[in-house]
């Protein structure tokens, strides 16, 4: 029996470990370190209609137990991804989740429709953390109605299940989750990065050329765990959890919080072998906690008795 296999909409995975979008390019670099077929799935870098250069550099900055990035969705564009990257990935026995981004609903529709038809793309991940230029820069990811509408439109055109990737920069993550669930999302993916900034003391200016950037890494793990815990108890669709995962123990914590699979982002930069290492370690950790199959852990921490609403400080 495979103790790590999980089954999610569109995704029958040999294990629940996948590299997170933007942290693995299109797999080429990591294929030099190990066989990509080992992975549960691969979430590829955000794809937009046109090729994008992204933001000026510096694009990354370090923080305590975290990093900021402001890559700016650099990618070769829809056509190049479909013609060059996805066919190259097809040599591996691994389902692909295509991360879809854009600045307006039409962009998402265009990318989703076309990319979801590529055979090795088994699911889409809608990256709704970008500002919607048409509605004056309001973020798709922070207004439930806007996220609802986007999800609905994309669902209409997608040939594969759609996972919506939630932004943590919101007052009420449950409200966002419920909105996209109602719009027909097949699953959720959470969390994207927290918005942060660092200033260079020598220049007095932000370290990142883009000024602000997305915070990822172990620093954000407790926020991710909390949000997954809250959301998983309120929705009926599965969650791909992410945010600071560095080890097999972290994966277990995400499952207990309510995730049904996980993505590993920043950790790939620290250790290119982190995904296969976690996959190898997981059975041992399951043994330690006396669990047979990883899926038994989903939501183990849930509070079946009811909710508390205390002031935390």
């Amino acid at each position: 029996m495979n103790r790590l296999s999980v089954s999610l909409p569109g995704l029958d995975l040999k294990n629940p470990i996948m590299p997170a979008s933007g942290c693995f390019g299109f797999g080429r670099e990591y294929s030099k370190f190990y066989d990509l077929s080992k992975l549960g799935a691969i979430i590829i870098k955000a794809t937009t209609v046109e090729p994008r250069f992204g933001n000026p550099t510096p694009r990354v900055a370090e923080t305590s137990a975290g990093m900021l990035n402001a890559i700016g969705l650099q990618n070769p564009g829809l056509d190049a991804v479909i013609e060059q990257e996805l066919p190259w990935l097809a040599q591996y026995d691994v389902p692909i989740i295509a991360n879809v981004a854009g600045s307006q609903v039409e962009d998402y529709i265009k990318v989703a429709e076309k990319i979801s038809k590529v055979p090795n793309v088994h699911a889409l991940e809608l990256n709704i953390s970008c500002p919607n230029v048409k509605s004056g820069g309001i973020q798709f990811g922070t207004v439930p109605e806007v996220a609802y509408e986007l999800t609905k439109q994309v669902k209409k055109v997608s040939s594969v299940p759609v996972y919506v990737k939630l932004s943590p920069n919101v007052s009420d993550i449950v409200e966002m989750a419920l909105a996209v669930e109602e719009a027909g999302a097949d699953g959720l993916s959470m969390i994207n990065t927290l918005l942060g900034m660092r200033i260079d003391l020598k220049t007095g200016k932000p370290v990142l050329a883009n000024k602000t950037g997305g915070l990822s890494g172990p620093a954000i793990k407790p926020v991710a765990i909390r949000m997954i815990y809250q959301v998983s108890q309120r929705v009926n669709i599965p969650i791909i959890g992410m945010g600071g995962i560095m080890s097999a123990e972290d994966v277990i914590e995400f499952f207990m919080a309510g995730a049904s699979a996980v993505a590993v982002g920043t950790a790939n930069f620290i250790d290119p072998y982190v995904c296969p290492t976690i996959i190898d370690e997981l059975p041992k950790v399951l043994d330690e906690i006396g669990v047979n199959h990883i899926s038994e852990l989903v939501g183990r921490s849930w509070d079946r008795a009811g909710k508390t609403a205390n002031c935390s400080s």
């Binding site: 942290c23 250069f53 992204g54 550099t57 990354v60 975290g66 650099q74 560095m246 930069f269």
Partner: protein
């Protein structure tokens, strides 16, 4: 390209806050080109989280050792500077494409220009060039005398000029001042140092044969995260690009926008 725990053979402060670190391990076998770099994790902790890119300064394949020289400045390099003999360091490398050796031949003159902590990779380069019979000229720039290093080692390989910004040693001013004053001629230029220096060289010698090594803030160090990209000179606003970590860090003169 591999990841390995390497053993500290020695660590010395060779100038003010400038450390020379020698590491030993199998990974050295894969080191080929001068100008490649390694990506180091200075600690098992998550703070600092990211690896640090440091150039390979010298390689001893027989002893499976390589040397790097770095300035202890921020959080990561300060921790690194405290490693002692027999400690272990987590090294990913060798990374990137280094300086091409086949662009110059016996009897040619190569001008090697380094600024500050851009000097180290030129050392192994110079050794390899000299081995090929290339005539090397070094022009090395430092902030001041206190942070200068490896003068004699370069001297042993070829003519060496030093410039210091404050004039505390050698010529007062920048490396470009030395090149002008000495009216140095060359068949091929190799340079590594701060961006303004590279830009000055690129502006002046574009069209001539030459290679420059760039620095950029990095995430992965292997080409996957798009942190370290730069535009091309021929397409300064467009979507074409180079990644410093995996396409570089060495680029031909005139190729990338500085």
């Amino acid at each position: 390209m591999m990841k390995q725990w390497m053993k500290v053979v020695s660590q010395k402060e060779i100038a003010k806050n400038i450390y020379e670190l020698v590491l030993e391990g199998e990974l050295v076998a894969a080191m080929k080109e001068p100008g490649q770099f390694v990506h180091l994790k200075v600690d098992e902790s998550t703070d600092p989280l990211l690896r640090r890119p440091i150039s390979i300064c010298d390689i001893d394949h027989d002893q499976k050792r390589f040397t790097m020289i770095y300035r202890a400045e921020g959080k990561g390099t300060t921790i690194l500077s405290k490693k002692k003999e027999n400690d272990q360091v987590d090294v990913l490398g060798p990374l990137g494409n280094g300086f091409p050796l086949n662009e110059v031949g016996k009897g040619d003159t190569a001008l090697l220009v380094g600024g500050g902590i851009g000097v180290p990779p030129l050392y192994y380069l110079s050794k390899q060039l000299v081995k090929k019979g290339v005539n090397v000229i070094h022009v090395l720039g430092f902030q001041d005398k206190s942070v200068m290093f490896y003068e004699e080692k370069f001297q042993a390989l070829g003519t060496t000029f030093i410039a210091t910004v404050d004039g505390s040693y050698g010529t007062k001013g920048f490396v470009t001042d030395v090149i002008t004053q000495q009216n140095i001629q060359f068949d091929c230029l190799f340079a590594c140092g701060p961006k303004p220096m590279l830009k000055a060289l690129d502006d002046r010698f574009r069209g001539q044969k030459g290679f420059i090594s760039l620095e950029e803030r990095m995430g992965c160090g292997i080409g996957a995260c798009y942190a370290c990209v730069c535009h091309l000179q021929e397409d300064p606003e467009g979507p074409s690009y180079r990644k410093v970590c995996s396409d570089g860090p060495v680029f031909p003169l005139g190729e990338v926008l500085l």
